[in-house]
């Protein structure tokens, strides 16, 4: 089971600044392990971000995205208490969904 994501959504005016940190090896399929064997490709292919259930971002990724991927986006028309949900699916079919609530800027 994949590790939970860290999601922070902070309201700046009418826009939510959303930052997501996912925990994933993002193997390129080019790296060799200690025994000299190639570590197989293992990476997140799709990411979906929704705002109160409505899709705001649908991303397609390659293995070139760094290990433990970071994603930052801005969502217009957000309010404090709105739900931001993030789902990723990797090339092995593993998936994970986490949710956060938009908070006021401190």
């Amino acid at each position: 089971m994949a590790e939970p994501m860290k999601i922070r959504a902070t309201l700046q005016g009418d826009t939510a600044d959303v930052r997501v940190l996912m925990l994933h090896p993002m193997e390129t399929g080019q790296r060799r392990d200690g025994k000299g064997e190639i570590v197989p490709l293992h990476y997140i292919q799709s990411v979906l971000v929704t705002h109160n259930g409505k899709a705001v971002l649908d991303a397609q990724w390659s293995q070139a995205v760094s290990r433990n991927p970071f994603l930052g986006i801005r969502v217009k028309g957000a309010r404090v208490g709105d739900k931001i949900s993030v789902t990723w699916v990797d090339n092995k079919g593993d998936k994970r969904t986490d949710e956060a609530t938009v908070a006021a800027a401190s």
């Binding site: 080019q30 705002h51 390659s62 070139a64 969502v75």
Partner: protein
């Protein structure tokens, strides 16, 4: 007898309602509301092929696209890249590292309240131009910025 028939009707009705909801997409998996994963693009090994797969071959440069990336990245495994598009009607932003083994790194489709801004971190094998390809109202625009890499991050 009649009562049984009535309830049978009701049951059939709810089954149909569920089937209709399924057909309308309410029961389909959450992902996949936009285009399918761009296999050809992510497997292409040259910049031109990657741009072509996006539909952005020969797209003009635009000054309304800003790429925020370091001039020199010490560690190619973690290169922060942010793209801001001020082009009205921005629908899609792609990040392409020209000299990577597979140049196309990521494509972001924005919708609803999603703004023309994405920030992420990518791996880069060597010093190269990083391209931002933006689709706005069905037309494509590009911008590029060179990022010098001290230690490559693909191995």
């Amino acid at each position: 007898m009649n009562k049984v028939r009535r309830s049978l009707f009701k049951l059939t009705g709810s089954v149909i309602a569920i089937a209709a909801a399924g057909a309308a997409g309410m029961l389909r998996p959450l992902l996949g509301w936009a285009a399918p994963w761009n296999k050809a693009g992510f497997e292409s090994k040259a910049l031109a092929d990657a741009l072509k797969s996006l539909g952005a071959a020969n797209a003009p440069e635009s000054r309304d696209i800003a790429i925020t990336a370091p001039d020199i990245a010490e560690n190619g495994a973690v290169v922060p890249i942010a793209v801001t598009s001020r082009i009205p009607g921005t629908q899609q932003i792609s990040i392409v590292a020209e000299k990577n083994p597979f140049p196309l790194a990521a494509t972001f489709d924005v919708a609803g309240g999603g703004e023309g801004y994405v920030s992420t971190r990518i791996k880069m094998g060597q010093t190269s131009d990083v391209w931002a390809v933006v689709k706005a109202d069905g037309r494509f625009f590009t911008a590029k910025k060179e990022v010098k890499i001290t230690v490559g991050g693909c191995g």
